[in-house]
Amino acid sequence: MKEALTKQRRLITVSALLATGHQAGEASVPFLIGVIIDHAVDGGAGDLVFWLGVLGAVYIALSYSFRYGARAAERAGEQAAHDLRLRVTRRVLHDRGGAETGRLPGALVSIATSDTARVGAVAVAIVYGTAAVVAVIFTAVLLLSISIPLGLLVLLGLPPLMWLTRVIGKPLEERSETEQEHGAQASGIAADLVSGLRVIKGLRAEEAAVGRYRLRSRSALAATVRSARTEAAYRGVVLTVSGLFLAVIAVVGGILAARGSITVGQLISSVGLAQFLVGPLSTFGWVGADLAQGRASARRVAAVLSAPVAVSGGDSTLDTSLKGQIDLRVRDMAVKIAPGELVGVVAADPAVAAEIVRLLDRSADPDDGLIELDGTALASLDPGSLRAGLLAVEHHTDLFDGTIRSAVSLDRASSEIVEAAMVAADADEVARTLPDGADAVLDDGARTLSGGQRQRIALARALAADAPVLVLHDPTTAVDAVTEARIASRVRELRAGRTTILITTSPALLAVTDRVILLHEGAVRADGTHGELAAGDDTYRETVLA
């Protein structure tokens, strides 16, 4: 937190100064009202003009200091939040990963948005907190200059009263907050039902969903009404307490004025100042809450920023003239792949298949084992450099907003390569069905496309990366058989001479490989062509052909 705010130090200082000026101005207004009324008794019209001029000057000063103070404070806060948001994003996207461990995407997004905003809000809280402190001191000086006993009464009386309202208010406030949360759930549930609309429609469960929503909405209503009542009660308490305080000041001030210790105008000023003081003192309340929230948020942000990396060590860069020989020895699995081979890997257990992709991508390092690329251990390579030479794509892979063309080219592959990759993955066919072709814009993760269409675009992207070594995991599960067979042979053609590993149980893909390795119960069970294994191995037939 400190770090993020230190960068905004200048803005914070400037805005704190300006906000202080604003508060001093606001405090002067009731004081001046008293002065002017005082002069009504014994002054002339010249006095009125003079003091109204002073009031005008005070207004100009307070207005401008508020204007630029508030802007500077918010700028500091927003800029700090923005910087943190980018740091969180960069940390999450860091080559070595690890930020997602133990955190759901939703939680990370809320850290990157809400928590960074709360840390930023600390800048604003510091500004207004400082200004409130100065305002209290300034008011105290004014009050004490009017009358020492009255000033002391206000200054010593107000803090315990504020404390009292907080003590009474706190449990009420907490109760109100939990009930508010209950209330907010109603809109959450409505949103969830609407996002599952197709499922509800398909099930013909509209009426069941309507009924369920009505129940939730009713219980949320009960909760929010309770919360509104609690809040109203709390406000009543605050109103009573401040009324009581004002009465005491007015009575004591009145008696002092009647005895001639202070003037009538000073009495009015004192009452006005006492009323004004409630403002800065209640500022302490929210500033305290904001600081506490900011600290909690800063801890969450810091936890992400300092999250241990998923793969540590190794920063050599990959040799540019990559042959593409892979030697994997993990636990009891030993797999050797020669340069330029097109190899199928069949894993009966989907978890093992996913693990191998992660290991080759160096999203994770093996606990027990070693993987070598051209004789160099993957663990000794910088992950970014490794991925430039060895591209291992998970089964679940995301498409991002943009045109189909840019989704495939990633704005770096040449148009010939993109063209060839689109054809090989049959993604050109997807583009043809859309009005704008390859320039069609995919938004929201391309959810308007069918699963098969998304897979083909994702496959084209993997092929267009033109990596010396390519590893694909079940790239065509949602593609129909004819298309899948066509894709298989084209992928073989496109990847000729470069190491390619297909981790899949799809017979159409396996049929075009040079060789298939069957992993079963944590070890290599068989190694041969698709035809041989299909003819000679029961487990293979069961896993692939069933």
Partner: protein, 570 residues
């Protein structure tokens, strides 16, 4: 081609809100009466303070001061009690009206034909259900009571000023033209700016979510630089707009400061001359000044709420627009005796008139028959499934389902937020725990369900335990078991899980379909082999129909498909 869902005109919205308010009329009147009484009690304070000032200048006794002090305390107590009750009652009116409105809205939204929702784009309904409901709720919760209270305080304070001396009222009104100008000036700039702000903030959120969700893909393809650049650009855009909003607000307050000063100076000058002319006491002048100073906060509150109110009003228009559609509830299908379960006659279907998707489809499915629909991507399989399921209306021709209810299960899996048992009970609200368990057992899911932290009561879906794609699909099949419809339509329901997972799902699907008439959009030809009959679609037409062995033996599209499929298995 998108057609937005309707947005109600302001007049219609007001009429609907009035109808919703009607049963609450007594409460509303009571709340307003309490608020008025409470505010008046509060307005007794400045004259009492003025009285103390007068006592001070005329040398009153301690007893008189204390009496005035007691009056001040009493005023505060009465104000606190009455205004508190009034606010609570008003909130109840607002909340209750809001609850009934949002229920009607959700009811209408859930009953809307899917076609209409899809034409409007998925975001339209979602943004109404999240943003607009939240904006309106927030307004009902905080803005409405605060605004009412501020407005009453302003009006009654002006009345109080007039009671002190009519000339004070005239002086106070000096501020009004400046305030009216300021609000107009502000609203004109604020509304479009805040709309832009909301769009920018939503875009930033959307982008962050996509980036963080896709982090593994981004790392794999080494595109972190571009993506953090995009996040930075969106975030900066949102920050810039937020700061522009702040700048606008500070200019708004600067103008209000002018109004404050003008009014205060006028009231003070009036008091000054009236006191000198002995028209009023100094206490009255004090009361007037305090009244006017006390107007600052409510005026700022009321004016600042103007844009909340505008946002809430446009949110309401969007809610009422959908609520007003009020589509009929889904009638349970009637069962007609006879051999046919599904009858499709001369069906044409198109999403857009110039692009026919299905042409001249004729198909009768017998009760208990299992039909697989096969064809290349884009042949119209999914459209046929949706038309049979009643999701889309035929462009021409008829589709009837004499067998009764038809349930559609697609590859789009959604797990509803809340306990898993509640999700399943959407399909049959009356299902007992045993029935729920039986359904899960049938689809091989009870094993992992019992291993969840709290079994059937585990919170799943958004904010809860995340299920894998395959588990979510098993849940979909379990729902099908519970809904127990005579006809089931499956579209790509086993596609997304990866090949090994697909086999588990195929088993689950087979169990869930047993005893039902089924239409299956088949990706893996194993599903076609197991079907009683295969329908082959090409470019929106049925080109072949028959049992698997017959079709394999006949030269044609299916035989080619089968060749490709089985070749890969040799």
């Amino acid at each position: 081609m998108t057609t937005m869902l309707p947005i109600a005109a302001g007049r219609r919205t007001r009429a609907v809100v009035l109808v919703f308010l009607k049963p609450q009329r007594a409460r509303l009147v009571g709340a307003l009466a309490l608020l008025v009484a409470g505010t008046i009690a509060g307005l007794a304070a400045p004259p009492l303070l003025g009285h103390i000032v007068d006592l001070a200048s005329s040398g009153g006794t301690t007893g008189e001061f204390v009496l005035a002090g007691v009056g001040l305390v009493a005023a505060a107590l009465v104000e606190a009690a009455l205004a508190g009750l009034g606010v609570a009652l008003l909130a109840q009116v607002g909340e209750d009206t809001l609850a009934r409105l949002r229920e009607r809205f959700v009811e209408s939204a859930l009953r809307l034909p899917l076609e209409q929702v899809e034409q409007a784009g998925a975001g339209d309904l979602t943004s109404r259900v999240t943003n607009d409901v939240a904006v309106v709720a927030e307004a009902a919760r905080t803005a409405l009571p605060e605004f009412t209270r501020a407005l009453l305080t302003i009006v009654l304070t002006l009345g109080g000023l007039a009671v002190l001396d009519w000339r004070f009222l005239v002086a106070a009104l000096v501020a009004v033209p400046v305030q009216i100008y300021t609000v107009r000036w502000y609203a004109k700039r604020a509304v479009p700016l805040y709309a832009k702000q909301r769009v920018a903030v939503a875009a930033q959120q959307h982008h962050l979510l996509a980036t963080i969700d896709g982090a593994p893909t981004i790392r794999t393809f080494r595109i972190a630089g571009e993506h953090s650049g995009r996040v930075a650009a969106r975030s900066q855009q949102a920050v810039d707009l937020l700061l522009r909003g702040i700048a606008l607000q500070t200019r708004f307050y600067a103008r209000l400061h002018v109004a404050e000063f003008a009014g205060l100076a006028a009231v003070l000058a009036t008091g000054f001359f009236l006191v000198r002319g002995d028209a009023i006491t100094i206490g009255t002048a004090t009361a007037a000044a305090l009244y006017f100073h006390g107007l600052f906060n409510p005026v700022n509150t009321a004016l600042a709420l103007v844009d909340d109110a505008q946002a809430a009003a446009s949110g309401l228009d969007r809610l009422v627009g959908v609520a007003d559609l009020d589509p009929p509830a889904h009638e349970p299908a009637t069962v007609v005796d006879g051999p046919a379960a599904i009858e499709v006659r001369d069906l044409d279907f198109a999403y857009r008139p110039d692009r026919p998707v299905l042409r001249g489809i004729n198909l009768t499915v017998a009760r208990g028959e299992r039909v697989a629909v096969v064809g290349a991507t884009g042949a119209g399989k999914t459209s046929l499934a949706k038309v049979i399921a009643g999701v889309h209306e035929p462009t021409a021709g008829t589709v009837t389902v004499p067998a009764g209810e038809a349930v559609l299960i697609t590859q789009e899996v959604h797990v509803f937020a809340g306990p898993l048992a509640d999700d399943l009970r959407l399909a049959r609200p009356s299902a007992t725990d045993d029935e729920v368990r039986a359904a899960l057992t049938a689809v091989d899911a009870l094993g992992w369900v019992t291993q969840l932290p709290e079994g059937l009561d585990t919170e799943v879906g958004e904010g809860g335990h995340t299920l894998t794609a395959a588990q979510a699909q098993q849940v979909a099949f379990a729902r099908l078991m519970l809904a127990d419809p005579p006809v089931a339509i499956l579209d790509e329901a086993t596609a997304e899980a990866g090949s090994a997972g697909a086999r588990i799902l195929e088993r689950a699907a087979a169990t869930a379909l047993s005893g039902r008439t089924a239409v299956i959009v088949a990706h893996r030809l194993t599903q076609a082999v197991a079907a009683d009959r295969v329908v082959v679609l090409e470019n929106g037409r049925i080109v072949q129909m028959g049992a698997h062995p017959d079709l394999v033996a006949t030269p044609g599209l299916y035989a080619t498909l089968w060749q490709a499929w089985s070749d890969s298995r040799q």
